[in-house]
């Protein structure tokens, strides 16, 4: 659930903050390589004259954290990864003595596994190579040390590795599904990578440091779940933007200064509840036995919560609605499982765009394939089966950009394009343009 309160600021115990730096993050950007993921990319970037910047960015975040730390509270204990993975950034800042710093043992000293081929790094520093596996292992370790907040500097690949590490598994790659950020320690990304699609990053290193300080010092320590997205860098280098949803992580909810004229924006959970109520009312008006395909995401999960059925946060489920309640017909299904669950009957499809991206189809919800969309429509226009849900905040963050569809079927994409009504609250709708990606 959103807004899970953390342990809250204690006047007695210093908060414990973990720091992981992906030292090669951002290397590929300025030399035009579009990221440093993939075998040989970091070395290639260095050849082209790229300078590692991630440690400087982490240091900038630490400086902001220190300067924003309230004088009355005990200073945080920093648990940092060794050498270029965190320690260097701390040395660059030269922290005051009241900030205690513990350097973790080198992850390479632990049991080793083969480097993850998608994000493995290359030798970049005098003290030896760092790999995606190092990030994962360090994240696992810091979670075990019960950090109040885990700061990490990097890009989307780093966020993905941190997510995998926190899940305590190295299998959290492109198909990772167990991804419920709600059970993991809160994290906050310091942007240092070339591509930042994930919503777990602050807008700048300074913003990350400041937010970390304010959040750790606050009594409530409210958090929100945000998407971990990563592009396929090989495709990105070919000019294709293909972000995939890997899971959710809990990040500090930013407490903005109160406005004098506008009321506090309601909690996201209020918007979720209103949307869920609207959908469940709509279910009540539909024919008994109707199948409802529920796409991934926290907004759609709120509908499942309201129905009392379990929901795969990163997967697609099918429920059947009857007057006496809802029943799960397919859980976390692939295309074929969903088609079987429909059993030739028409269905409605509840989906939410990926936050910040606006992708309605083709990113993170591929099981809702062209075949599923056409089967659900049962001969009618596929867009008539759609129920798009999104909070007003998510729509605002689109900045006027349209929602995007990329189902892999050009004709279907063209049919889905146009204007769509989006359920934004109990009795609230918005009209938003849908375009072919």
């Amino acid at each position: 659930m959103p807004d899970r309160p953390g342990r809250g600021a204690s006047r007695h115990r210093p908060p414990r903050v973990g720091l992981i730096v992906n030292p090669i993050a951002g290397l590929g950007g300025r030399v035009g390589l579009k990221g440093s993921d993939g075998e040989g990319m970091a070395a290639r970037a260095i050849e082209l004259g790229a300078e590692p910047k991630a440690n400087h960015r982490a240091a900038a975040a630490l400086r902001a954290l220190v300067s924003a730390w309230p004088s009355g509270l005990p200073a945080p204990e920093l648990l940092v990864a060794p050498r270029s993975m965190g320690e260097d950034a701390v040395r660059e800042v030269g922290l005051a003595p009241d900030f205690s710093v513990d350097v973790l043992p080198d992850p390479a000293d632990g049991p080793t596994t083969a480097g993850d081929p998608t994000t493995a790094g290359d030798p970049t520093t005098a003290d030896g190579p760092t790999t995606a596996d190092d990030t994962k292992r360090l994240a696992t370790r810091l979670a075990g040390l019960r950090v109040d907040l885990l700061l990490f500097a990097g890009g989307d690949g780093t966020a993905r590795d941190v997510h995998a590490g926190l899940l305590g598994t190295h299998a959290g790659g492109a198909t990772g599904r167990a991804a419920n950020g709600g059970d993991l320690p809160p994290v906050l990304g310091i942007p240092a990578g070339v591509k930042i699609q994930s919503a777990v990053y602050a807008t700048s290193p300074a913003a990350a440091g400041r937010l970390a300080a304010e959040w750790l010092a606050s009594a409530s320590r409210k958090t929100e779940e945000r998407e971990v997205l990563d592009l396929d860098e090989a495709a990105y280098r070919r000019g294709e933007v293909r972000p995939a949803l890997h899971g959710y992580l809990r990040v500090p909810a930013e407490r903005r200064v109160q406005d004098r004229k506008a009321p506090t924006p309601p909690d996201e959970s209020v918007a979720f509840a209103g949307i869920a109520e609207a959908i469940v009312e709509q279910m009540g008006r539909a024919a008994d036995g109707m199948r409802w395909i529920l796409g991934p995401g926290t907004t759609v999960r709120a509908v499942a919560d309201r129905l009392g059925v379990p929901k795969a946060l990163v997967g697609v489920d099918v429920v059947e609605w009857r007057e006496d309640g809802a029943r799960l017909v397919a859980q976390d299904g692939g295309e074929q499982a969903i088609l079987r669950a429909l059993d030739g009957r028409s269905a409605r499809i509840v989906v939410t765009p990926i936050g910040g991206q606006g992708f309605l189809f083709g990113r993170g919800n591929q099981p809702i394939s062209p075949a599923v969309l056409r089967a659900a429509a049962c001969g009618r226009a596929p867009r008539d089966t759609l129920i798009v849900v999104a909070t007003p905040g998510k729509l605002a963050a689109l900045g006027g950009r349209p929602l995007l569809v990329d189902t892999g079927d050009d004709r279907l994409d063209a049919e889905l394009a146009g204007h769509v009504t989006v359920v934004t609250g109990h009795r609230d709708r918005a009209v938003i343009r849908v375009a072919v990606a």
Partner: protein, 581 residues
């Protein structure tokens, strides 16, 4: 009106030192006082930015000032003759009406009451005190003080709404004439002055829309209202209170206003009405608004024009000319009456003849013999939206303001407001990190919703924080409604009241704060340093367990201990006293 004043000579000269990041420390050292010695103010130098410091009385809540037994007025004893003649007037009250115990009101002497409220008044900013262009969408303009003399006159102040109509012909005539003025300004046939606020006027329009559809047997079939994200949110709110489902249109990223295609996708046979502001809160005028109205009319819906933002279009364009069926004005914005901070202000609704029967009752009518009367016999009326007929003092102020200007003067008001706004727009866009999203290169009408997104990305300083820091210079600005569709928003509305020097000073203050965000961000993060209070903790507004709008609720939720902790010795007395109740 805009004076042709020259800009201050010392803009942006950065004589200011870095203010302390800690509260309660003066943020201007004495060294700066000499910074302007080369200026004409050699004896009393006036460096930029001005060395503002607001009063901070650390004043308790009035309940905490209570001393049991203290009185403001000691009433004389009742004379025996009166006592005998009247008896006990309370004896005739029905049982259960009287209180068992007196209400827990604060007990203070007159001086202490006066001093309390004088102190609070010093801890405020207002249009008479600061360069109030930052309260965008509120149309903060000068309210001529001569009009205060009119409304304080016993001729108005001692009127009573229950007086016989024959004895209040003057105020009825004034109301009738004001309605005619507003009908002329909007192009509408009939006007009501009953609502006490802008949102209440929107509500009145929605109620008339509902009554209109009900009169045609379509009340249930038409259950949707269309509005835009940059229209005032009271449009959506009023529609929801009336039971409508609300469909919100988002702006086209190029033009800043919704496209006709988006409107067509939203309008259907279920559409009861379009409720729209124009220019919207961005200051961008939708040039297709007449086509919007046509699309809604073709679907059988009505179109209502929220003219709270009318200050840039007086005498230039009219709601009726774009085909609207209803509109409303905020007299406390465009027509110069005080805002009242939550009321009473004054709203005015204009409608076409077709919707006239649904106007709130009573209406002011002129008989054939030239006399005026209130007409309560209006069978199709939505009923009364407010006791009596409008906020009379504000109606007198608005009437006087319109009469003092005349048609040409009203147009000059709008032209000046638009000129001021576009001058300030040019000045703000010179500041590194500021932008005016949408409609690039195009002028705005009477206000602009700016964005500090570039600055925020570079510095981590949010727009709200810049607005708070402005308090250290004796002003402020407002961001926008939620959600922030324009990221890091700032909404400025310089009305016709401000001089060029005012606008230059305001822009220079913004430039200074933006400079601080880059060079000494901690100064901004920890602001305000020279204002009444440092920061409030907004999390209280999210938490029903903590928020309290009355002292009684505060004590209930926070307990005697908390109240005693918070206050002085007097507070402890008051709290235990109240806890007995």
């Amino acid at each position: 009106m805009t004076a042709a004043d020259e800009a201050p000579a010392t803009v942006g000269g950065s004589a200011a030192s870095v203010p302390s990041a800690r509260p309660h420390v003066s943020h201007r050292g004495p060294a700066e006082a000499v910074a302007g010695t080369s200026s004409p103010h050699a004896i009393a130098p006036k460096p930029f930015p001005r060395r503002f410091h607001q009063a901070s009385w650390d004043e308790p809540v009035i309940f905490e000032l209570s001393t049991p037994g203290a009185r403001g007025v000691l009433l004389p004893p009742i004379e025996p003759g009166i006592r005998e003649a009247v008896g006990n007037p309370a004896a005739d009250l029905p049982a259960g009406v009287g209180r068992a115990r007196p209400p827990q009101l604060p007990e203070l002497a007159q001086l202490h009451v006066l001093r309390h409220y004088d102190r609070l008044s010093q801890e405020n900013l207002g249009v008479d005190l600061n360069i109030d262009v930052g309260q965008g969408t509120c149309t903060m303009k000068y309210s001529p003080k001569v009009n205060e003399g009119l409304v304080r006159s016993h001729k108005l102040a001692e009127l009573h709404p229950l007086q016989d109509e024959s004895t209040v012909q003057g105020i009825l005539e004034l109301m009738w004439r004001l309605e005619r003025f507003l009908a002329e300004i909007s192009g509408m046939d009939r006007v009501t002055l009953q609502p006490a606020a802008g949102s209440q006027a929107i509500w009145t329009n929605v109620a008339m829309i509902r009554a209109y559809h009900a009169s045609r047997g379509e009340a249930a079939a038409r259950d949707e209202v269309v509005t835009t994200i940059f229209s005032h949110p009271s449009n959506a709110a009023a529609a929801k209170v009336a039971g409508y489902r609300v469909i919100t249109l988002y702006p086209d990223p190029e033009t800043g206003h919704p496209s006709l295609d988006a409107l067509r996708a939203a309008v259907a046979e279920r559409t009861a009405a379009l409720l729209v502001t124009n220019p919207e809160d961005t200051g961008i005028f939708n040039p297709e608004v007449d086509a919007f109205v046509r699309v809604v009319h073709e679907a059988g819906g009505l179109a209502a024009y929220d003219q709270a933002n009318a200050n840039g279009i007086l005498g230039i364009t009219r709601a009726r000319d774009a085909g609207f069926d209803l509109c409303h004005f905020n007299l406390h914005k465009t027509f110069s009456t005080p805002h009242g901070s939550g009321g009473p202000a004054a709203g005015a609704c204009g409608v076409t003849g077709e919707l006239g029967p649904f106007l709130p009752a009573p209406t002011v009518e002129r008989a054939a013999d030239g006399t005026f009367a209130l007409d309560h016999d209006r069978p199709q009326s939505i009923g009364s939206v407010r006791p009596w007929y409008g906020v009379a003092p504000n109606l007198v102020r608005a009437y006087a303001w319109i009469r003092s200007l005349g048609p040409d003067g009203l147009r000059a008001v709008s032209e000046t407001a638009v000129l001021n706004n576009n001058y300030l727009l040019a000045k703000v866009l010179e500041i590194d990190g500021a932008s005016a999203p949408y409609a690039a290169g195009k002028r705005r009408i009477e206000q602009v919703r700016y964005s500090w997104e570039t600055l925020a990305e570079a510095t981590g300083v949010h727009s709200e924080e810049l607005g708070v820091r402005m308090a250290d210079f004796g002003t402020h600005y407002w961001t926008s409604h939620h959600p922030f569709v324009v990221p890091e928003p700032m909404t400025l509305e310089p009305t016709e009241s401000y001089s060029k020097a005012d606008l230059d000073e305001f822009a220079a203050m913004l430039r200074e704060v933006a400079r601080e965000a880059r060079e000494t961000p901690e100064t901004v993060h920890s602001a305000p340093h020279a204002s009444t209070i440092h920061r409030i903790d907004p999390s209280w507004f999210d938490d029903p367990e903590r928020w309290a709008v009355t002292w009684r609720a505060y004590l209930r939720k926070h307990g005697e201990r908390r109240a005693a902790e918070a206050g002085r010795a007097a507070a402890g007395v008051s709290a235990s006293h109240a806890a007995d109740a």
